[in-house]
């Protein structure tokens, strides 16, 4: 099974360091796919996102998603880091890394984990506008729910 690392943290993360941890000393990894999600400024209207999560369940739910990915693809390593708290435009929010002998498995496992993380991991985003007013909670997008259908 894959070496899996899951962390929920307020601090930023370092992609290269995380990949280094996954690949360090290994010579059987052929490809590493990583996804980094960023906070967009929504055309300049957004001052910050505030991310709330369900401590404990967030880690457990992501672990379940990673287990499922490990059953579907021959992954050699999986890393997921998700931040909470206030995040400003241009900053990193989430990281998924999948390592495998072959590129296709790494691409699919990484996208699978991101798709399920979006709709299944207990995180909620609140938008704070540049006007200073406390913002609205982001609505779940239908297309995120739709994205799960292709993995059935």
């Amino acid at each position: 099974m894959a070496a899996t690392t899951i962390r929920i943290q307020s601090e930023d993360f370092d992609l290269s360091a995380e990949i280094g941890r996954l690949t360090c000393g290994r010579k059987d990894i052929g490809g590493v796919v990583s996804f980094v999600g960023y906070c967009r400024d929504e055309g300049g209207s957004l001052a910050a996102l505030e991310l709330e999560h369900y401590p404990g369940m967030a880690e457990e739910e992501i672990a379940r998603i990673c287990d499922e990915a490990g059953k579907r693809w021959p992954v050699l390593g999986l890393t997921v880091v998700h931040r909470f708290g206030k995040i400003r435009p241009g900053e990193q929010i989430v990281l998924v890394i999948a390592a495998s002998s072959h590129r296709r498995a790494a691409f699919e496992a990484a996208e699978f984990v991101m798709d399920f993380l979006k709709s299944r991991a207990p995180f909620w985003k609140k938008e704070h506008g540049i006007s200073g007013r406390s913002g609205d909670w982001v609505s779940a997008r239908d297309e995120d729910e739709q994205a799960l259908v292709r993995w059935n």
């Binding site: 404990g56 207990p122 909620w124 609505s139 779940a140 995120d144």
Partner: protein, 83 residues
């Protein structure tokens, strides 16, 4: 039983969690939601659209018809928007 709320449910109800002694007639997640809805205006507001509310029992996603069983913690929250 410990009941926890997240995002706008937490804001509408005005607290992150509370201890609730559900009566014996409350057997499922949907029963618990209906019970809470009747506790007051803020609960009625929080649960005004029960069909979009998600729930977890002991940190696992569950459906409305799932029995509470011996779970120690039930959570209610809006659809997730992480990632």
């Amino acid at each position: 039983m410990k009941v926890v709320y997240f995002a706008w449910l937490r804001e509408r109800i005005g607290k992150p969690d509370e201890e609730i002694a559900f009566p014996e007639t409350v057997r499922t997640v949907a029963d618990a939601l209906r019970h809470l809805t009747a506790l007051g205006e803020e609960y009625a507001y929080a649960f005004e659209r029960p069909e979009i509310i998600r729930a977890a029992l002991d940190r696992k996603h569950v459906k409305p018809e799932s029995p509470l069983g011996t779970a120690r913690e039930i959570a209610f929250f809006p659809p997730m928007t992480g990632g």
